[in-house]
Subunit: 191 residues, 2 copies
């Protein structure tokens, strides 16, 4: 949210350089597409956003993340490698996800985020959503539940790690799972 | 994307005033929540975005839209009133949606948009998505398919009407359907 938005955006996209060997990255007038290993998506988005936020200007990132990719030619490279053919019970997945968030790096940038998880094509999609909500409430960065999304607040490291674990661990392992997120930094609105 | 972002955002939110009698509207540091009749959601978002775009600055709106609302107290007011208990065949829904887009007002603001439709809890969710894609390709504002989303380009009137028809007519009528969208105006990127 700056008259210098071109410089800030182009500078932030440079933060993706270390990820380029593992991703296909395409930028157009509306968005940047990243196609690659699901486990590396949120670290890449975190580094991009922390870079943009380093200018101290109010900035927001809105992303749609998908795994499973039915009908897409990239299916082989964008389906998670872990858990294939087996999926631990919800309680075990929640515990493992909490451990992963505890290991997240500290970036020094405080952010607020809202995200929604969409496990598609599964008859028990609400069970997976409720399991994911239980995980997020114990993540250390849970702010509150809102209509149709969950709000997080804290260091960008833990916030992106929490969304990454939600994305990787809930919904059928071989299924189509989408996650929608908005992340905000340096908002002038008092909270 | 302007140093005057506070003025532009607060000015645009005023465009929601005519909708306030029918909606519950809450703004916080990350987003504005609208809860109300699904048929009026996209007209409200269109007026909001056209107002923001009238400043001539590059601006983007990212929204998550949901109907069905399982487990939410607002369920009675945010489930579509049409089609209840019956759903016409896909071909009829596509034709009706095309007619609705043809009647959309012309705003004078050219926008690009990307959106994804998520029909949840249905075993034939891909059929509904493919039917929706067929509708969008004949909408007059179809730009191209991208990974996991569809890109539109044209007058904000037809673009928002196309997304509204996609949201209202595809996915189970009494089901949980989410739609994720990004709309952009005045981008300096050449297309």
């Amino acid at each position: 949210m700056s008259d210098d938005f071109v410089g800030i955006i182009l500078g932030a996209i440079k933060a993706l350089d270390p990820y380029r060997p593992n991703f296909r990255i395409e930028t157009d007038d509306v968005s940047t597409l990243l196609v690659g290993p699901p486990e590396q998506l949120f670290p890449a988005m975190r580094d991009l956003f922390v870079s943009a936020g380093s200018a101290g200007k109010h900035c927001v990132m809105a992303s749609t993340v998908s795994r499973g990719c039915p009908g897409e030619p990239d299916d082989p490279i964008c389906t998670p490698s872990a858990h294939f053919g087996k999926q631990p019970p919800l309680a075990e997945r929640i515990e493992a996800a909490h451990k992963a968030v505890a290991l997240a790096p500290v970036t020094g940038l405080t952010v607020a985020a809202q995200f929604s998880l969409y496990p598609l094509g599964s008859s028990h999609h609400m069970d997976e959503i409720y399991g994911c909500i239980e995980f997020v409430k114990g993540s250390g960065v849970f702010d509150r539940s809102k209509n149709f999304c969950t709000k997080l607040r804290g260091d960008a490291g833990a916030v992106f790690a929490t969304m990454s674990e939600a994305f990787l661990n809930f919904g059928a392992p071989e299924g189509h799972v989408a996650l929608d997120l908005k992340v905000s930094a340096h908002s002038p609105t008092k909270v």
